[in-house]
Amino acid sequence: MLNGTDIDFLASVLNSLICRTPFFLEISDAAADASLKHLLSFVPSHRYLLVAGAVPKWARYMEGQPRVLPSEDPQELAEAIDSSLKEERVGSRPIQFVYFGAGPEVYRSVLRPLPRGWIATTNDIDSIVKDLPSDLSHYLTRGLEDVKAVHIGERPNDLGFEEDFLKRIKGTRTTALSFLIQKKFSEMHLAGAAIRRDLEESAGTMTMADLEDQFELDEPTATTMFELVRAEHGVDIQRYLVLPGPNVVGIVDKIARLDHAIAVAAVEDGTVLCMRRLRYSELELSRISRHMARLYDQVHLESATGTGYHMTATFPNGSNIVVVRGGKTTYLVFLTREAKTALSLSEVRTLVRG
């Protein structure tokens, strides 16, 4: 069971694994091996694990079958890792380098030139910190009773995704925790690979709603997946997505807070830009929204109902959909049967049109 400090600590570790921020670990208690094994079990299994230094026997048999690199010549070792990191940029499998038993000398000669993707264990994190260049950003975290970590880089502004994820799984036993973390990493890795393939093969656009509908990725996971792909392959796939403006997102979020709202979608030129699914995940939200938005445009064109128009649809089960246009964007709100449609419509109109 993780407490608040552990969640903060592990959130930083997960973030560093996602962004491939290098970090040192100091585990000094009697259960050092168990704690280290546990932490290293979080290393994404799709990465090629390279280990060096005073590699403990158990580490040779870790999941992912690590390759043990000779450590006698620090320069040679640094060059080998650096070359693997370069190969990632041309399609090779991303690596994760773990150095066991690093001191300041190893940091200077092997680790410091490597920009990303390494973890080093040490017995004396204070000496390491003292030896870091004064202009190098770093931050210290502590958790899991007696584990310290120094992350080389700026402290992340937002660890919301990692913290929310850990809070959801904090009650699970150690093995389940590793499994659930690996499952999340695999989901992001596989989705990232499929999306990159999709973008290479088709010239079409993709939206966050497509990611949710077709890849079953919720928005926080998708956003973190962009980070993972950027860190592992140097590709920013977020640039290829059609993302809604902050104004649209703001309106959608406000509508989502209305009583009786089941789901909200914003559609522009037949593309679902943004969705908030509050209940009923099985709803084909994106497809229904596209049809309803098209219907709304068609009726206006054909019948000239005038300006400032809106649409309501009532279904046999009593649920409703309210459709309101604001600028170029059509907002669709799915309501429960308990909703007073006229009242909800008025609220949505106020939020959309100000």
Binding site: E284, R294, L295, V299, E302, T305, G306, H310, P316
Partner: protein, 119 residues
């Protein structure tokens, strides 16, 4: 019992008596126009196309989205109102074009009475 052509004609003439209604079209689930009556000045061809298109979209909600077809759809604007009402269990839709003050409660009642009388 599903309404027949005579029932549809009765419904159309009853709706035509409502002052705020400017026109109505009944479209079957297959997209066929089974009855219509429109005020002069309304573009029948365009409105029929719109009605058929709407019925097509309602069908897609069911077939493509695993959702229900709507019972009623209302589009309200500054200068008018368009309503599509489902007729007797998936038989089709009645499309009404009306003035902004067209009361759908009254319309629904008129349709219900007309169907009951016809049966």
């Amino acid at each position: 019992m599903a309404p027949n052509q005579k029932d549809f004609d009765t419904i159309i003439s009853k709706l035509d008596e409502v002052q705020e209604v400017r026109g109505c079209i009944i479209v079957s689930q297959d997209g066929e126009v089974v009855a219509s009556k429109l005020d002069r000045g309304l573009d029948e061809e365009k409105l029929v196309a719109m009605s058929k298109d709407m019925v097509g979209t309602f069908g897609k909600l069911k077939t493509e989205c695993n959702f229900e077809s709507p019972e009623m759809v209302v589009i309200e604007g500054d200068s008018g109102k368009v309503a599509a009402l489902s007729v007797a269990s998936d038989t089709g839709y009645i499309f009404l074009l009306g003035k902004p003050d067209m009361s759908l409660g009254m319309i629904k009642m008129t349709i219900k009475v007309a169907i009951e009388k016809a049966q």
